[in-house]
Amino acid sequence: MNPEIPTILALSMQRLAGNIGEGGAAFAQGQVGLIGMMMTLSAKEYERGADIRVAENNELRALFGELAGTVSDATLKPKLTAAAASKDASLRISLLNENNYVLRRLLTEAMIHVEDHGQRTDLQRIWTVLKSLAERRLVQLGP
């Protein structure tokens, strides 16, 4: 999730501590309402943040393991194999993100290869994972 929670908390604090009433009562009320919404969403993200990143990273590794069995490209195949065997060494959000970004970049690289040279079933498998990733990252506004 970008921006990350620490940025949102810090910038919200700055905004609230600043002259938020300068634009008039209606504007201030709107700003406070939005900040309040981001506080609520941040609380939800605090609860699920590590969980969804671990799940996403593991789902991507499982996909790469499957693709390594069908992709014959000499450059891509070892990357997929290595990524499939990688692990999250910590549950810190920043480190999970770091691993996640590496995996997501590799996903795009693998997807381009499959689109150009691969099998349709592999592409469909990738889209199944992408749908799962997108579903997991959805932000619910309600309770």
Partner: protein
């Protein structure tokens, strides 16, 4: 605020040649991170009128030509469409620190909220019929006839779709803060599956949707707002954007939370004289979600890097980006 009010008063006295003019009640309106919007009252010659000031923010969410929005208001107000009357455009930052323009305030109206499950209540059909008809009327106008023939945008009907994809890919390239595999896949798919040539080149509003127009207590649309992304292009771009599920709480069959899809498209076709070709429209719908994702990626960057810390930008980086990623994955996953 008082200082801004004084400077605005001084400016308007000179601009409108009204030495007795006074400004009162200047207050910022919530919503919209791409321009600072204020309402105020101007009194002169015994007459009082409500006006709106739209000023560039210190950093803009979407970089647009500053005169674009004002010229669009001029053109379509002149055509008799529900668009506020423009009053003054000032590109010199000296009077109010940043470029700005002023237009009439459309009073006693409301905007539908995209957060509401039923944004228009009993006015749903009345508002919906006007919404899709006015969009068709915009599409039917010849850009040269309304003085916008030199607007930004591609004018070759064969290249317009590719031009728009390239435009938003550039935004993603510049503002992406984390890898976006779904957005990147969408860009590749759009490039590989370009639609049939545009039926014509029209003025595209660029952000024609629920939340960007005002209607009154009789359910009459009084103002189409926020023309800052207006450009020349394929009129199906506006249609695809307006029926994006983000503006209807995810409801694909009730675009904008107003009318059944088939009825909405029929009204647009009738008013525009154009065809909402299903295959081409499907491409523009996927493009709409890509364009949305690019805007939200840009908003998240502006916020995270401290250039525009309006909390709406943080919300865009979370809720709306995740929404459009989800829509893109659903739609493209179905055709893969």
């Amino acid at each position: 605020m008082n200082e801004l009010s004084q400077r605005l008063q001084k400016y308007l006295r000179g601009k409108l040649a009204a030495p007795d003019l006074t400004v009162s009640g200047l207050a910022r309106i919530p919503g919209g991170a791409s321009r600072e919007t204020y309402r105020f009252r101007a009194h002169s010659g015994g007459r009082e009128r409500g006006l709106i000031l739209r000023r560039d923010p210190p950093a803009s969410l979407i970089e647009t030509e500053r005169s674009t929005e004002y010229r669009a208001y001029e053109a379509f107000h002149g055509l008799g469409l529900p668009v506020p009357a423009p009053v003054a455009l000032e590109l010199d930052p000296a009077p109010l620190d940043r470029p700005f323009f002023i237009m009439e305030e459309i009073e006693n109206c409301q905007a539908g909220s995209i957060m509401s499950p039923d944004p228009f209540g009993s006015y749903r059909e009345t508002v919906g019929r006007q919404f899709f008809t006015v969009m068709g009327q915009i599409a039917s106008a010849d850009p040269r006839d309304v003085g916008l023939g030199d607007f930004e945008g591609e004018t070759d009907i064969h290249d317009v779709a590719a031009h728009e994809v390239a435009r938003w890919e550039k935004v993603v390239d510049e503002d992406e803060r984390e890898p976006q595999p779904i957005v990147r896949a969408a860009i590749r798919w759009l490039k590989r599956n370009l639609p049939s040539p545009a039926q014509k080149i029209s003025v595209v509003h660029g952000d024609y949707r629920t939340g960007n127009f005002l209607y009154d207590d009789a359910g009459t649309i009084r103002a189409i707002l926020d023309w800052e992304m207006a450009h020349l292009g394929d009129p199906l771009e506006d249609l695809g954007w307006a029926i994006d599920p983000l503006w209807s709480g995810g409801n694909m069959e009730m675009p904008g939370g107003m009318l059944p899809r088939a009825e909405a498209l029929r009204l647009w076709e009738k008013a525009s004289g154009l065809k909402a070709d299903p295959k081409a429209l499907s491409w523009w719908e996927i493009f709409a979600s890509l364009k949305g994702a690019a805007i939200w990626i840009s908003a998240a960057r502006e916020y995270a890097e401290g250039r525009n810390t309006d909390p709406i930008n943080a919300f865009s980086g979370w809720y709306t980006l995740a929404f459009h990623n989800h829509i893109l994955a659903q739609r493209l996953g179905a055709v893969a």
